[in-house]
């Protein structure tokens, strides 16, 4: 059984920000989290790529506004790759 994207993503956020109190919501963005700066953003994206086995383009990365858009992007990437069981 594949874990829901939101659950995996939450664990990625906990790991990258070293904070297990983070609760993801669609409108959550870097503005809401003081530690979410540019270098952390890169670490976050690289960890997501590793975890979901996907690759973002630099344009996709630049366009991301919040967690909701991030989840949509991951969904589009994972659904276009080979299905998992």
């Amino acid at each position: 059984v594949t874990e829901p994207i939101e659950l995996i993503l939450t664990k990625v956020f906990w790991d990258v920000f070293d904070d297990e109190t983070i609760a993801l919501r669609p409108d959550l963005s870097a503005k809401d989290m003081p530690d979410w700066d540019s270098l952390t953003h890169i670490r976050l994206l690289l960890t997501i790529e590793r975890e979901f086995r996907i690759k973002f383009t630099i344009t996709e990365v630049g366009d991301l506004k919040n967690v909701g858009e991030l989840i949509s992007l991951i969904q589009s990437k994972t659904s276009s790759s080979s299905p998992q069981s």
Binding site: P34, D37, S38, L39, I42, V61
Partner: protein, 486 residues
């Protein structure tokens, strides 16, 4: 055997600490040691060696007597600066230790060490008397030349005296750990990637069979390059003779080259539209200031620049000096009065690089100092030139920021400084009613200040903005009024 340590304290770094670490490690990367070089990076000031921060953090992790480290992981999460008080947190037991340095609530260095009882069979350490650094200057490598498979190797030996003193100053750091931190700093900062490196992460395993020695060799081979973020992953190893002391991986970013001053698009520009007009551009050596100089020059204005350093290709009318130095400004004013007898435009563009800061106790002094410095760079030129500008019915142009309208959370100092200079020019029009003022609130621009892997994304062109401002100045603004260009 088990051990536990915990505690909280704070540390800070001085210029002498940087010099000492450089002596010990052989890392002479100019980002850490050269004020002028560092000033022209997005950090605006020398950055503390990440490995020195890690070493200071290690001073708070006590391995039990007779134990040897088996692995070291260090993450350099944010740049560190001189004079800032960093809080140390260290804890661990049962063979695993963790240490972190914080700037207020933000972690800047994170460290993990594993160790085990060595049963007295660890290799004896050989402490030499002389250092062995093959490079005295950091290698300069372009991103295109750094490809998977690129391999470098060489001899390495720390400066034993400096390293011992440094390890003791940091609170008694294990010699093996101090040695590999010094070596990895040298490897990344001097060799691969070299001068443009930003050390991101180090992961090493210790093999326990070979001692650190005065004559070690190293090998580093690029494993992968993520061109989106200019992130380089390197396989590294440190050897004594044929035996491996440590092996693992380094990750580092390659800082992008400084943005070139763009050519101004002259299509549709009337080349004599500002003929006979005289402008002074404060902060003209790079970024928007350099583009403003070109955009005004293109329209036929006589342009005088003022910058802290002169670039190749700068016009002869560039005065080298600090925009907050009244003497340097007086020289420019006297020259403009003597040669032109008038001043039509004063462009106040100088501003120190702004790094993210939180409104927290350990940031109060930095915020205050930033505001003071940033306001001075506009206030001092205004005070020097307003009278001349008034005599010529001129215009003061203030480069502010869109963040004044739409604040962002991490830049209270930058936004406060821009808000203050906007207030100053509004009052200037009351005191000097023949002048007009133009407040420009640009979005994020691609300049030396924003030139980081992520900072570059979505940054606007300074050349385009300069052309917009110059085009606005072709048409008269109303005396005694302030206009905002957003």
């Amino acid at each position: 055997v088990s051990s536990s340590t915990s505690g909280q304290t704070s540390i800070s770094f001085t210029e002498q600490d940087l010099a000492f670490f450089s002596d010990a490690s052989g890392d002479r990367n100019p980002l850490h040691l050269n004020q002028e070089y560092a000033r022209r990076t997005p950090y605006g000031q020398p950055v503390v060696f990440g490995c020195l921060g890690a070493m200071a953090c290690l001073g708070h992790i006590r391995l039990p007597s007779g134990w040897s480290a088996t692995s070291l992981e260090a993450e350099f999460l944010r740049p560190m600066f001189l004079g800032v008080k960093y809080r140390v947190e260290a804890a661990g037991d049962g063979g695993r230790w963790k240490g972190r340095l914080f700037d207020g609530s933000k972690p800047v260095v994170s460290l993990r060490v594993t160790a085990e009882a060595s049963h007295g069979n660890e290799a004896p350490e050989e402490i030499g008397s002389a250092s062995a650094f093959e490079r005295r200057e950091a290698a300069v490598r372009q991103q295109e030349s750094i490809v998977p498979g690129l391999t470098v190797s060489g001899a390495y030996g720390c400066n034993p005296t400096a390293l011992s003193t440094l390890a003791a100053q940091c609170g008694g750091v294990d010699r093996l750990l101090a040695t590999v931190l010094s070596w990895s700093s040298y490897l990344v900062g001097m060799e691969l990637p070299g001068e443009c490196a930003l050390f991101s992460k180090l992961l090493l395993h210790f093999h326990g069979t070979a001692p650190c020695s005065a004559a070690m060799t190293y090998r580093a081979s690029v494993a992968s390059v993520d061109s989106r973020f200019a992130l380089i992953e390197t396989d590294v190893s440190l050897l004594t003779g044929a035996s491996t002391v440590a092996s693992g991986k380094c990750w580092s970013y390659l800082r992008p080259p400084a943005p070139e001053v763009e050519e101004i698009d002259s299509s549709g520009v009337r080349l004599d539209s500002l003929a006979g007009r005289v402008a002074v551009v404060i902060g003209s050596s790079r970024g928007l200031g350099a583009s403003m100089q070109r955009a005004l020059d293109l329209r036929g204005a006589a342009v005088y620049g003022m910058a802290r350093s002169r670039n190749a290709g700068d016009p002869a009318q560039t005065e080298v000096g600090d925009a907050a130095d009244p003497e340097a400004l007086r020289r420019v004013r006297e020259r403009v009065s003597r040669e032109r007898g008038r001043l039509d435009f004063l462009i106040c563009n100088a501003c120190p690089p702004a790094l993210p800061l939180r409104l927290q106790p350990n940031a109060a002094r930095r915020i205050e100092e930033y505001i003071h410095q940033a306001v001075s760079l506009t206030l001092t030129p205004l005070c020097e030139f307003l009278e001349l500008l008034n005599q010529s019915n001129g215009c003061a142009v203030i480069i502010s920021s869109i963040f004044v309208e739409h604040p962002v959370s991490e830049f209270p100092h930058y936004i406060a400084a821009k808000g203050a200079v906007e207030a100053l020019v509004r009052v200037a029009t009351l005191q000097y009613p023949r002048i007009c003022t133009l407040i420009v609130r640009p979005p994020k621009l691609l300049t030396a200040m924003t030139n980081t892997p992520m900072g570059r994304l979505g940054a606007a062109s300074p050349g385009l903005l300069a052309n917009c401002i110059a085009a606005r100045l072709e048409h008269p603004l109303e005396p005694g009024r302030t206009e905002i260009l957003s």
